[in-house]
Symmetry: C2
Subunit: 384 residues, 2 copies
């Protein structure tokens, strides 16, 4: 009855040339030295150097529900022009790029499209400069980027998630890191503000905006119930859980993250969230290196510099059953098109039963207790 099972992942990785093996170990396991390889010669169709990867997640047919197939599009893109270009020029270049990509996405059958975090501007929060970056902020419902995308969303019958820097003019002109949701008729549906704000590495983003006050909204669209966990919120299982409790079937995670600190985590977190909550997750990272005009320091002993490292792309989709798509490249603009059958969410819930077995009451009580100043952790010591 015993079968000759494959020895291990490692035993196969060891067959690779040392450099390749080390790279895989770095990404999959973390913390090996960095090195470089030339670009791969893949044979993918390209549009303006846009890598296009497509894949499909399927599940069982059911008797009472038809399949609920939804195609998502995830875009990772470099800045088309220099970071210090005038804002109007940057916007123009971004809109040109976006228009072209959305046309491709439409041709690829995309129903729900998501851009990367703060997609229409440089990721300038490392600089700690307020000028000119705060000027990129715009009103969620009526700003130029929302207006621009509303037209295309209606034209292409596509829900579009547009993560921007938001200016809330109704409440003292404050900024937020916000995802705007535009429905497939070109109407503004709502917004969500980033729940967890990093103070790590090059980024204390609370220089610009605070922890979001929009809860964990789930947006009911014609293509399923969707939600947005913005960037650093992916490190927080409770944030993912919040969207799950509210009924999300797809949670997008538009991000901007670089280098050795986060790359070993990248393939783990959004994927774990898909598993734990039995929904789809779509992890989108920026790609490329953004160089700024003025130098800045990073609080890590290094000399001042003008960029904070390489956004490694590698955007991917993870499914409720733990499978995941190939990643987009670490180096190029890329569009990941994935067809999802949303019926998989409930099928996996029925198979694994995580929702039934999760004992939320016990944890509600524990979390309540743990936030009290007189919280006594449950520690077992030897009585002596």
């Amino acid at each position: 009855m015993s079968t000759k099972e494959v020895e291990s992942v490692e035993s196969i990785l060891n067959k690779l040339p040392t450099k390749d093996r080390n790279f895989l170990m770095q990404v999959l396991y973390g913390r090996l030295p960095h090195y470089r390889l030339g670009p791969s010669k893949d044979s993918l169709k390209t549009v303006t150097d846009l890598e296009i990867v497509s894949c499909q997640f399927s599940c069982n047919e059911e008797q009472l529900r038809p399949p609920r197939k939804v195609t998502v599009g995830l875009l990772q893109n470099k800045l088309p022009i220099d970071t210090w270009a005038p804002i109007t020029e940057m916007r123009k270049a971004m809109y040109t790029m976006a228009k072209e990509v959305l046309e491709v996405a439409h041709a690829g059958g995309v129903n729900v499209f998501c851009f990367q975090e703060a997609w229409n501007m440089p990721f300038a929060f490392c600089t700690r400069e307020k000028f000119p970056w705060c000027e990129y902020a715009e009103e969620a419902e009526t700003g130029p980027t929302t207006e621009f995308l509303k037209k295309l969303a209606g034209q292409y019958n596509m829900v579009i998630i547009s993560p921007i820097l938001e200016r809330d003019v109704q409440h003292g002109d404050v900024l937020w890191n916000t995802a705007v949701i535009i429905d497939n008729h070109g109407d503004y549906l709502g917004k969500h503000r980033k729940n967890h704000i990093p103070r790590v590495g090059d980024f204390n983003e609370s220089t610009y905006y605070f922890e979001g006050n929009t809860g964990h909204p789930v947006f009911e669209t014609e293509f399923g119930k969707i939600a947005v966990n913005i960037c650093y919120g992916r490190h927080h299982p409770l944030n993912w859980l919040g969207f799950g409790l509210n009924g999300a079937e797809i949670v997008f995670n538009p991000s901007a993250t670089v280098g050795a600190l986060s790359e070993p985590l990248w393939g783990v977190e959004a994927r774990n969230a898909a598993i734990a909550n039995s929904y789809y997750t779509c992890a989108i990272n920026r790609v490329g290196t953004e160089v700024f005009k003025n130098e800045f320091t990073s609080g890590d002993g290094r000399p001042a510099h003008k960029d904070f490292g390489h956004f490694y792309g590698s955007s991917y989709v993870a499914a409720p059953d733990g499978t995941r798509s190939p990643g987009l490249s670490r180096t190029r603009n890329g569009l990941l098109i994935a067809e999802l059958d949303l019926n998989m969410c409930r099928q996996v819930r029925d198979v694994w039963g995580f929702q039934m077995t999760r004992r939320l009451e016990m944890y509600a009580e524990l979390l309540n207790r743990s936030t009290k100043m007189d919280f006594k952790p449950q520690v077992v010591k030897k009585s002596s």
Copy 2:
């Protein structure tokens, strides 16, 4: 400033022979067809066909705290004799194996040792037979296995975690899936009962035992604060969080899991828990195939059979910074010896700040609300 970054994990995997690549994709991404390879010819030292893998996790030196190095030992082992052997013989064979391995672990400097789930018996819960399997149950504090290990723990100055089937004679003779913690002086320190019980695939373990009633205890030992998340509890981020809230530095996850359903999840969940909670996790799976005397069915349309698939081993350790050890094999008995510096936990907390930024109050409130019968999910729809 732009560097030639490596293209992608996939581009390197594509250099491998198709079979190898498919295997890696299966394990890392899931859901490719199964196939077989011969055993690898690794050059590891062996004792009674015991693969030994050792590794080390280190972190920065600090000014005020010396390094806190602790060596853990994780054992994955096949049954030494047939599942239907008499209980006394099975115990004897298991104790002989354990004694030998603990001697090796001691020679390897292990401070805290953990066995796989229900380590001293076949994983017979698929059979739904009460006889003879319930007879394996023993009292946590005074049972023969605890008595046996107390001597060795004292002799080797080693904390031992012994996951067993517990019989609670004080409360109506009920059974529990329990981990017993024996300290390095050979004294019983305490126990923890599995918090989440599966009803999936071949296992509705509630045929034998219910959800644990011991909370999320952390055991304060001379080698750090440890906890045990038993098997199916690894799918529940809140269970991992519970041990974190109580101060765990290392959480062991003794498991018993097989096949295509869980293998793509195996490398993700315990690793994500290490990241999210900034502690070490030690994931231990059984290895080998256990064949039973009487046939049973699995509720999946397949004919009756006598085994429920291959336990794929692949035990590993994950660190707070997201790095992980190589896995033990998918096929052989194995001992993973990992030296951890517990100082890494707080260092990662300071760097990433997940504990500071996690907004527990918000989630305590959400969890409270979500358990109410009149819970209204936060859903945004178009008003029409």
